[in-house]
Amino acid sequence: MTESNPPLPRAKFQCRGVNVHYATTHAIKDNDIDIYDKSVTSFIGPSGCGKSTFLRCLNRMNDTIEICRVTGDIRLDDVDIYGSDIDPVQLRARVGMVFQKPNPFPKSIFDNVAYGPRIHGLAENRADLDAMVESSLRSAGLWDEVKDRLSSSGTGLSGGQQQRLCIARAIATQPEVLLMDEPCSALDPIATEIVEELISSLGETYCVVIVTHSMQQANRISERTAFFHLGELVEYETTHNIFNTPKDDRTIGYVSGRFG
């Protein structure tokens, strides 16, 4: 599918024959996908189609679920991330993740953002750490709102601010990839707009993969869109093509609102 497209940045992720089983359920069925750097890729599809599960394969978050089994080949910069020499902890430092529900730690705003740099020893000294926290909060568009209360609790922020704090926290670890699992589904429209703008701008520097229930959102912020249905990757195209000239009947049905 991808060869017909205009020149692309290089593929950050190359996934071939990926299968995921939860105990007896076959959640992801033999999917191939290339995800490109410095762009936003959306995963869309009805609930339970496996899009979040697939996203969680990309940073091996599924490892934390006892009954989950992932097979197939997923390469990040041509290295198999399920290889025996890969430490999932180090992988997750490179592939950051933002979750559906804002989940700031019950710590101060500063400590939330400084969490990643501290555990990975990224900062040389306190001034360095301060600078990292500030630049992460600036990237997440939160700095001006919280700069006077960095020591107050991160859980005291509004929902939209919490989600941007979580994005700042993910950025502070200096990842190459940002995975976002329905990052706006718990936010109101205004907060959603702010976070969407943020995601679009992050797409200029990072490889961003976002799972979303909102087709409008996928349309607004992503360059490429993948449509999942019942664990199958049905169609993967530029966002424009998916929404304007979908090829598969299931995609046509979903994007035109006939089901899902």
Binding site: E66, V89, N103, F105, Y115, I119
Partner: protein, 456 residues
């Protein structure tokens, strides 16, 4: 006889329920919607009044008549016996009661026969009178409340009101009992402090309250409770030294490392540990642990007495482990999975996640679990009675025998000293214990609230 009366009242309650229900149906004449309250509420309303009237009269009558009969029996002791001490009078009365009910009396004489005869008539009168009164009250309650049944009668609201009052009375009983216990502790304590200066008790370092009792009164210099406080603190400290790390680590293992299967086996096992009677821990400490420690100490050149704070503390710590592990496990599990995911998603290891995210978030709960453990340790009795010793040594050496507040209360109450003499220091110690745990709990609650404010 009165048990039959109680049974009849129960039957009356059931009967009045069905009768009133039926009567409400009759009043409704087939149109149940015309009734303000459903027939069952009319039944319940009547039944509740019958129960309150019947059992209220029965219980109150029993209490009052027992008091009255007792004083009547004392009055029945013939004056010809001359002045008698209270104990002798008690004995005559209880022998009289035994004679009247056909049991074996310690001695039989004219005075006792007279008291017995009086008891027989009084009981007869009481039983018949109370039976009539009870049944009469229940019947009256039935007639009065069933006469109220009508279409607009708000039986539901009134039933709910009665139930509400019953609930309130139950709560009041719990509170009043507490107040009563505290008041009696306080009274005895104040009486004790009127003989012994409070400073001697709180700051004295010599505890041997009964040593001077034979010569008449207590020696204020020998009721210093500091050795007891020190012993209690020492043993509690050792116990927490064992219980907190082991309990907390077990909780972390259970919640974040153990597989579902292991967890489902280990957690119930830990809870069985909590179900072992403390007396079993006590002789385990005295028979197994203390000699083992003594022998081990001897082998490495340490003098450990065969009753030591260490033995009691270690076993007490083991006893407290399940409290801390089970409660901590619950609070650690209550930390949302989303926080764990957030931390793992940033490339944190399991250890980092636990240390930096989960434990801080669970801290209020863990603190309260530890404080609960401490208050159990302070109040624990059986283990220290058996394994810590009786001698009130003032020492910080865990290898020596020490004694605790609870042990001394046991010694005072179960000893062969006259109860009235021993009660003073015992109640005072009990009151002190109560105050300490109360202050402790208040501080603990404050601490927890403070943590919660900063984490929510």
């Amino acid at each position: 006889m009165l048990s039959w009366v109680a049974l009849i009242v129960v039957l009356m309650i059931a009967g009045s329920f069905f009768a009133s229900q039926q009567r409400a149906r009759g009043v409704a004449q087939g149109d149940l919607a015309a009734l303000h309250s459903r027939p069952a509420y009319h039944g319940a309303y009547t039944a509740l009044w019958v129960a309150i009237a019947g059992f209220g009269v029965l219980v109150l009558g029993l209490l009052l008549s027992n008091i009255a009969i007792r004083s009547a029996l004392f009055a029945a002791i013939p004056d010809s016996l001359g002045p008698l001490s209270q104990i002798e009078r008690d004995l005559i009365v209880s022998d009289g009661v035994a004679i009247a009910s056909g049991e074996v009396a310690s001695r039989s004489d004219a005075a006792r026969e007279a008291v017995g005869a009086r008891y027989g008539t009084l009981m007869m009168v009481r039983n018949v009178g109370l039976a009539l009164l009870t049944l009469g009250a229940a019947a009256f309650a039935y007639m009065r409340s069933s006469a109220q049944i009508s279409l607009p009668f708000r039986a539901r609201n009134r039933t709910e009101k009665i139930v509400q009052v019953l609930l309130m009375v139950s709560a009041a009983i719990a509170i009043l009992t507490t107040i009563g216990i505290v008041a009696s502790l306080l009274g005895q304590t104040l009486a004790f402090f009127s003989d012994i200066p409070i400073t001697k008790f709180l700051f004295g370092t010599l505890w041997s309250p009964l040593s001077g009792v034979h010569s008449g009164s207590m020696d204020p210099d020998k009721v210093g409770a500091i050795p007891l406080f020190a012993g209690t603190l020492l043993i509690t400290f050792i116990a927490m030294l064992v219980a907190v790390p082991v309990g907390l680590f077990a909780a972390i293992f259970l919640s974040d490392f153990a597989s579902q299967r292991a967890r489902s086996i280990i957690k119930p096992m830990l809870e069985i540990l909590a179900g072992i009677p403390t007396v079993v821990y006590g002789f385990f400490a005295a028979i197994t642990v203390a000699p083992f420690l003594r022998d081990t100490g001897a082998a490495v050149g340490l003098t450990i007495s065969s009753e030591s704070a260490l033995a009691a503390g270690i076993v007490m710590g083991i006893m407290i482990i399940p409290f801390i592990s089970s409660l901590s496990d619950d609070v650690i599990n209550a930390v949302p999975q989303s926080l764990r995911d957030g931390s793992y998603g940033l490339g944190a290891t399991k250890a980092e996640t636990i240390r930096k995210v989960i434990l801080p978030a669970a801290l209020p709960g863990i603190v309260s679990a530890v404080l609960l453990g401490v208050s159990r340790a302070i109040g624990e009795t059986m283990i220290v009675v058996m394994a810590a010793g009786q001698g009130a040594n003032l020492t910080a050496n865990p290898f020596e025998a020490v004694t605790t507040v609870t042990v001394q209360i046991v010694a005072l109450i179960t000893g062969d000293t006259e109860a009235a003499t021993a009660a003073g220091p015992a109640f005072t110690l009990g009151f002190t214990l109560f105050c300490v745990t109360l202050i402790f709990n208040v501080i603990a609650l404050r601490l927890v609230r403070k943590y919660q404010e900063s984490y929510d």
